[in-house]
């Protein structure tokens, strides 16, 4: 009995000693947890490099970075509920309204100082993370959509310039669609398309269509919206000059383009490093998205760093955010060319405006539609994507598909309010 007691005492003192130790370390160095997604291993390496530089210049702060590879927002939301969310994390403009309205993000207004130079951010990017006059996030980067075209295929048909209007694009796509192996099956399509609302919202807007009305109901089945989407339907159904990635066995539009199965795709700037690394042989150029109905249009997607309201050490978390979105940190991060930095000064300093591959993306930022609406956007998205695909595959007309999407989306929203 005595022996057991003494052993217990030893164990107890050991525990006290060890926990005491860790506490004394914690007081000197504060740890900030950071979570994000990654589109490629290079992206992770690049961010880790930036974080090392941050730790060197801020010796009191250690950053623990964790990549969430799949279903990012589901994971973040669940962790926020369980009080296990990271101190700082990425949020896409699409998901910002939900998090802002539920009060799980820390307003950053009290931390922001003059020398952060907020005016340097493109206004529509920072507005995406503001609600009720409060700023909840600082944009890290953005991308717009632009047209990628295969120079070799264009040269073969002696097409010298990328299409300027959507009519030209349809015309070129028809010419570029080929059965190169002469086995009776098309193996190269003019345009590779991704039939998602997030890609085509600007086409709905081009003719004056809208997604949501003031009452918050879906209204995308109007004549205007339909005329914006008709060109895509025609190319896929009638001319057979466009294809989906799954039609040709690819997993994304950029992969389809890289494999030479599509002569043109409309993608974001993240496709540039991807194509250069994965398909080094392909000769491609970029151009602004052809104008539709005499309107220039594109989409812009942006991501911000936000702070968890439950963050343990908010000062340290803010240090990290202000470093990553500050001029120096953003420059280090944006050097990789994965996304375009959110600061105008960094864009010009890194020479993005002189790089012909990137200029169409930067030009697009002036007129692009931001991919954000209210909290209900995910519901609209689900129903639109389902029905639009079904129309593309010829199961129903575009008109009835859009009507159905609109109806079911509104019904779901109504049903969830009780």
């Amino acid at each position: 009995m005595k022996q057991i007691l003494s052993r217990c005492l030893i164990l107890l003192s050991l525990i006290l000693f060890l926990t005491g130790c860790s506490r004394s370390i914690a007081s000197d160095i504060s740890t900030v947890t950071l979570s994000g997604w990654q589109s490629s291993p290079e992206e992770k390496q690049l961010l880790e490099q930036v974080l090392r530089e941050f730790e060197e210049s801020h010796p009191g702060i250690k950053v623990k970075f964790e990549v969430i590879t799949d279903q990012y927002m589901d994971v973040i939301k669940t962790r926020l509920i369980g009080d296990a969310a990271p101190d700082v994390f990425y949020v896409d403009a699409l998901d910002a309204p939900l998090l802002m309205s539920h009060g799980v993000l820390e307003p950053l207004d009290d931390y922001i100082t003059e020398d952060l130079d907020l005016d340097d951010f493109a206004p529509h990017l920072s507005e995406a993370f503001q609600s009720d006059g409060k700023t909840y996030g600082l944009p890290k980067d953005f991308t717009t959509l632009a047209l990628f075209y295969n120079k070799k295929y264009f040269d073969q048909l002696s097409i010298s310039n990328p299409p300027q209007t959507w009519e030209e694009l349809e015309d070129y796509a028809k010419k570029l669609t080929r059965d190169t192996t002469h086995n009776g099956r098309v193996d190269r399509y003019g345009l590779g398309m991704t039939p998602e609302l997030s890609r085509h919202y600007f086409m709905i807007k081009a003719f004056g269509g809208e997604l949501v009305d003031q009452k918050g109901e879906a209204v995308f089945a109007t004549r205007q919206s339909l005329s914006g989407l008709t060109p895509l339907m025609d190319m896929y159904r009638q001319n057979h000059s466009a294809a989906l990635a799954s039609d040709v066995g690819a997993s994304s539009g950029s992969e389809m383009f890289g494999q030479g199965k599509a002569a043109m795709v409309i993608e974001g700037s993240y496709a540039i490093p991807y194509l250069q690394q994965t398909f080094p042989k392909i000769e491609f150029a970029t151009a602004e998205v052809p104008s539709i109905g005499n309107h220039k249009g594109s989409m812009v997607y942006t991501v911000a760093y936000v702070m968890n309201k439950q963050a343990k050490n908010k000062e340290a978390a803010w240090e990290l955010i202000s470093y990553l979105t500050g001029k120096e940190g953003m420059k280090a991060w944006a050097n990789g060319g994965l996304a375009i930095p959110a600061r105008k000064s960094v864009i010009s300093e890194l020479g993005y405006e002189q790089n012909p591959l990137y200029t169409p993306f930067i030009a697009g930022a002036d007129y692009a539609t931001i991919w954000q609406e209210d909290e209900k956007l995910p519901i609209f998205m689900t129903h639109f994507d389902n029905q639009f695909l079904s129309a593309l595959l010829g199961e129903q007309s575009l008109k009835s598909a859009m009507k159905k999407a609109q109806q079911t989306a509104n019904k779901e929203i109504k049903a969830s309010n009780y």
């Binding site: 589901d74 939301k77 509920i81 939900l98 799954s246 066995g249 994507d385 049903a415 009780y418």
Partner: protein, 298 residues
Amino acid sequence: MKRFWQKAKVREAISGYLFMAPTILVLGTFLIAPIIYAIFLSFHKVEILGGLSYRFVELKNFLRTFEDERVWIALKNTIEYVIIVVPCQTILALILALVLNKEIQGKKWFRIIFFLPTVTSSAVLTLIFIWIYNSNGLLNGLLDFFGLPTYNWLGDPSVALKSIMIMNIWSTAPFFMVIYLAALQDIPRSVYEAAKLDGANEFDQFINITVPLLKPVTFFVMVMGIIGTFQLFDQSYIFSGGTGGPNNSTLTVVLLIYQYAFRSLDMGYAAALALMLAGVILVTTLIQRGFFREEKAN
């Protein structure tokens, strides 16, 4: 009080429950309590992001399921899946077991090889099958070679669910094969010998001896198969990247529950859907039991 304590029955009961206490505690925390909590949730509108709050909404969560089109699509998909997969995998399992019960060379190796898909993680299997089903993948190559029509297995709503069916039949049949195999070896040889003396051929023996004697096992296989297939989630989740697409064609009930619970954070409604699924499984199992019992009486 003292008298009560001295009663042998009471003492026995208390010591019995004491012995069971660890199990009761574990089951209670991880099985009973969650079920009760789910029932509680299903009658409430739950707000969980940014502070937990419940609001009692009577039966509104359950009434909402009737008007929710996606519930019916999911239920239709799931039932279609059950109706096709369960008989197919049961028959396939029986055929495989019969073949492997015969004296063929390398029997043990075949058993191991056939059993491999079952021990492989379903996530890995699905990823491999996504490659096989690719428009330029192995399956289409094979179909093309024999001059058969090819399909866009992943992208076409009319075949997407069938691709998951094929994959699942292939991967779960071996598990039930092992069960059948064990049951087959339990049938006494003397019964077959007696039948042979009476002049029954192989087929007669199969119909009149093997199938009736396997009935309890078939019941088990069917029940487990139905429960398993009703709960289809991981394959359709990986196939569609969590969306249930293309055009809701691979949306199953459990996937829908996941979407409502973790994507829309509507825990009350998700719990109501989960209870509804439990009800459907319970009813089908009861129907099956009745069906098998009736046959037994005859």
